[in-house]
Symmetry: C4
Subunit: 129 residues, 4 copies
């Protein structure tokens, strides 16, 4: 692989978002959380703007994140703080825009009950990259 | 992001559908359910027509839903009522048509046993949006 | 929706296949299983040829299945019999060809341990439909 | 199906990677693991180069793997050894390049707690195959 080749797209959508309000097990590993995992395979830093959509109020954002060149970053939605935290137990959706092509995957660990459950899917690539 | 930009497609398919008949844990959060989560990132309301396909009888629908402009909505299949509820414990599939581009993600929480299990996938975008 | 419109593609791939050899819970619902769920939204029956690929021997197939017009069918890989059953506890992959456009989704319920786990993903659409 | 027809793409991305550091249950079946499952439906061997990306250091690779003609292989990330093992409990991402078209699916079995959890998704096809 040409290590500097940036793979992926610049615009991604995760339609399902929900951070469980309860957790079981040792934090932070087993804390219920929802993540968007980003790969920036190119040789320039990727600057992300994340917008959070809700059911009953206006979108909030942008949340600004950065993924350095040739790095991956696993961001937890429950750790976003600026402009405001995402409330727990509330349906949301997210749009992730990047100035460089990246690949985004969505994962949730739900530990509301004693045993954790997992889900994951590649996000929807909405743009032509 | 230009907040008024509608992302996604107008036609989505979820080939796997099954609402477990049993649940464990406090309702409604831990009730076994299956959801289709929709993001409408555009500035016009999206009107959805959902058609449910079965193994041994004709399709039922349309179920009509609406997602306001710049909102997400997480619909539970088990809460659809008109024209008729989806029977529990029965395989089905769904086609979701929208008059605006949207993104659709499919999720199930299965709490038939004491600990819940989760699955999720971006639905299949069948149309060209 | 024009009810007779066939949605999807004619060629699908599921690269991950594995039927757990053990189960817990009442059969058949809680038997560990792996399924391919097919929607045929069109007005002609879809005839499927399924080929199973293994790690250490030649592919086996075709397994022939049919999905009537405007129906869904949830097929369990562990119920395929002709030309031969798929062995349990063995990695495999599958290619699903249809003479009509369909949509295919892959699901596994794993009940080897006391609580079931689930996975699902839309299969990979390999053809242009 | 023309059995020699190679399906899929030559470049795949899995943005989410994490091998849980703990396991419960009998090894190797219930050992926490993360796999990339590859189908090579064509009649030539597929040679894969896997590159692993990290959050805080340079990418490592290529890891070289081969999938014989008309075979599937389920590779566990935790069994990769050359040039070096992937550390447990560490976020990573992977890029999988093949000299033949293949299909790649990502799966994790997490048995950190007493009951296992599963996730799976078709990887992101970054190239045009």
């Amino acid at each position: 692989m040409t290590s500097s080749h940036p793979l992926g797209r610049r615009l991604w959508v995760i339609a399902e978002g929900y951070i469980p309000a309860l957790s079981n097990g040792p934090a932070p590993e087993m804390t219920s959380h929802e993540a968007f995992c980003v790969l920036n395979s190119g040789d320039r830093p990727a600057h992300l703007n994340v917008t959070i959509f809700y059911e009953t109020r206006d979108p909030v954002g942008p949340y600004r994140c950065e993924v350095p060149a040739r790095r991956t970053k696993h961001f937890r939605f429950n750790e976003l703080r600026d402009p405001e935290p995402i409330p727990l137990g509330t349906p949301y959706a997210s749009v992730i825009e990047s100035d460089q092509p990246v690949v985004v995957q969505h994962t949730r660990l739900d530990s509301r009950q004693a045993e954790n459950a997992l889900l994951s899917t590649i996000a929807f690539p909405a743009g032509d990259g």
